[in-house]
Symmetry: C2
């Protein structure tokens, strides 16, 4: 297909959904992408740009003629324009802003004035509102007469004369009510507002917790400034998850399989370097016991078992805790109970593993004292792992930091150091 | 508050959203929960039951009088009833089913007949449809006359005479069009259907990819059987993420901070036992080099550095790959390119780490040959880690298994074994 046949390309891509075209652009190589864009640039519309992953969007925009980009941007709702612009460099932002209508430009600039990752960046400014005293009939006539309506809207927001949102009406209720019914009589209980400066994580939580479809956004004076719809909230939820998963693994949270090798390396190196330092801690601990290892060299072979099983247990406990903090299932009110439960679980699994490992050690090496050392060290390290896995994220959270941030490195360092220390320390006491 | 004052309790809980009452029930201790339910059972409604986490729902239902449960169930849409029933034991299911109206009962039983985690289990059967030839006016009159409409609906689905869905109309378009406009003239392009037996992961993907708000569900003959709304899809997306994160950490994917200590231990023990076995592999590898360690005992202290840094690199690569497989950013068409990129990133970071570690080793121990051993082993293990992190989940995926399932244990075993082997093997060759 890349043989230069533009007509054939158009025939293939034309019927595809923008999201699928974007995926296609992401999955071909950089070289193929350049060729495809050169041949097909006229057909790239705003929806495709808005679907393309941040990782390659800048590259795509640079490859397109400015006129095409400007045209594409004009089709989009302001929230999508903001989403595209916020990831671009200053000069590229300026260039695109200058091609927008002055009204759109103002709206986009106002949105960009809100802090990054705030509700203000997510919302669309196109809102369907009605005065509180209207009836269903007046509302329907108003909608029928409207020249322009947002692509997606699910509620009509009732506002007071000072533009403060009061409640909302679902379109379903509007459609199924008689014309003379007052809008006030069919409002929904679930109405909530969010402030434009609230963090987007709170937006995602609100939508997920209360099953919202759309939510009114207000400024500091309580006046309506926009609306956030569930598809944006779903996106944020998705990004928050990505962040948790990647941060927990010690990777920059914007990592993507679309990065180049050099970007990939750069996003991972920081935590690898940190780990180099923390791993040296284990080395220092072990080196304290060189005499013991010299005397009984099989200990060197056995010590990673205790450390590594502790690492797994710590990771398990950590994953559950980080997830529970994200969904707000783990809060100050049940933290103490959860920590006790982790302690109990650590003791139980510690017992089970200690039994197996102790027996195996005793039978394989014909020395019950080695069995005792193995099982006691395992026991200690399992408890440390279970507690560390929940206390590290809880502490980070209390300090106002992201509980997923690098907890993995902390916890495995803890279980490594503890595992080597407990095992070699006990071995020195019992076996020498 | 738990001092027995029911009126006070009602005053406090009454204005709360069902989701918040459910959270409260989750976060208090089991003892407090029993007391609260005993005092307040009359007020527990269907929404609260449907919001409560699976982990304690069975306990709550058992604590309530059967009459209250039956009453609560009758208020709910069928998809919510199915969601509650599918997690209960057979006899409890039967008991609740027998209290439902025969129509609801049939609907719920039909939904339960679909495989677990399929679209059929997610959908609600209450659908708003219209014959293709209707006008906006006819539709509005029909909706106004309807005795009962679903709580939430965002589209009217157009069906042919054999009940096969043809397209849909958003309520926004319906409201803003004149009465004489044909429904056919205002249908949406984005219309898609899903088959009831499709897995729910596909449903979440479809909603996320195409920004759907609702999606028609059809049976194997293409006839409309229900509709899935975005709040259910958001839920599935959330659960899929949870599954990925917990499975990657080697925990049962239904783990929750609400589990008891014994449940927690049970959900984690299997992978700990597996790890005990895989960690023994490392022990076997190390024991092959006992003579080397006996000769240069400081090697025992240094070997975990190479293994642990490899473990972190493997986890990083793995997290990015599992995430990309879940979002379908990593597919057969770019897998080869991603693997090459991982190789490149592994080489780059391997070089960086090798340089630092080699220098540190040479300076601290005054032996450049030890520096060379450390840095070469680091180099090898970083490349193995980067490749393992992407190849393990890709292979699991190709075999039709969940790429997150236990990849963590595989990859860290690989990097541990490789780290010890490369380091001790090179040490034996170079230093002895």
């Amino acid at each position: 297909v890349e043989a230069g046949d533009t007509a054939e390309l158009t025939r293939l891509l034309e019927p595809m959904h923008a999201a699928d075209v974007a995926d296609l652009l992401e999955q071909i190589s950089a070289e193929e992408r350049r060729q495809l864009l050169a041949m097909w640039s006229g057909e790239i519309d705003g929806d495709i740009l808005s679907e393309i992953s941040d990782a390659i969007r800048e590259e795509v925009i640079e490859a397109l003629p400015p006129g095409v980009v400007a045209e594409a941007m004009r089709e989009l709702d302001t929230d999508d324009v903001v989403d595209i612009l916020e990831d671009l460099e200053e000069p590229a932002q300026e260039a695109i802003l200058s091609t927008l209508d002055s009204a759109d430009r103002l709206a986009v600039e106002q949105a960009l004035a809100y802090p990054e990752y705030s509700a203000g960046r997510l919302m669309q400014r196109e809102v369907v509102t009605a005065p509180e005293h209207w009836t269903v009939g007046e509302m329907i006539d108003h909608l029928r007469a409207a020249e322009w309506l947002p692509d997606q809207f699910y509620h009509v927001i009732l506002v007071d004369p000072r533009m403060r949102p009061v409640s909302y009406v679902t379109l379903g209720r509007l459609l199924s009510s008689r014309r003379d019914v007052a809008l006030k009589a069919i409002v929904e209980e679930s109405f909530r507002t969010i402030t434009a400066t609230d963090p987007e994580a709170d937006v995602a939580y609100l939508f997920n917790q209360y099953h919202l479809i759309s939510c009114a956004v207000v400024d500091e004076h309580g006046r309506l400034v926009g609306v956030i719809t569930i598809d944006d909230a779903m996106n944020v939820l998705d990004e928050e998850h990505q962040e948790d998963m990647l941060r927990l693994a010690g990777v920059d949270d914007e990592s993507s399989v679309l990065d180049t090798a050099a970007e990939t390396a750069r996003r991972r190196l920081p935590w690898l370097m940190v780990n180099l330092v923390t791993a040296s801690l284990s080395a220092v601990v072990i080196s304290r016991f060189e005499a013991t290892i010299e005397a009984i060299v099989v200990l060197a072979a056995l010590m990673p078992i205790v450390a590594s099983t502790g690492g797994i247990a710590g990771t398990q406990s950590l994953a559950v805790a980080v997830r529970a903090l994200a969904t707000r299932d783990l809060t100050a009110s049940n933290a103490r109970r959860v920590v006790w439960r982790e302690l109990g679980a650590g003791l139980l699994n510690g017992l089970g593993l200690a039994l197996v490992l102790g027996l195996a050690g005793t039978l394989l090496f014909g020395d019950w004292r080695l069995g005792v050392v193995l099982s006691s060290a395992m026991m200690v390290n399992q408890v440390v792992a279970a507690l560390g896995g929940v206390l590290v994220p809880l502490s980070l959270n209390r300090m106002g930091l992201d509980p997923a941030l690098a907890s993995g490195t902390f916890v495995t360092t803890l279980t490594d150091v503890m595992g080597f220390f407990a095992f070699l320390g006990l071995a020195t006491l019992v076996l020498l």
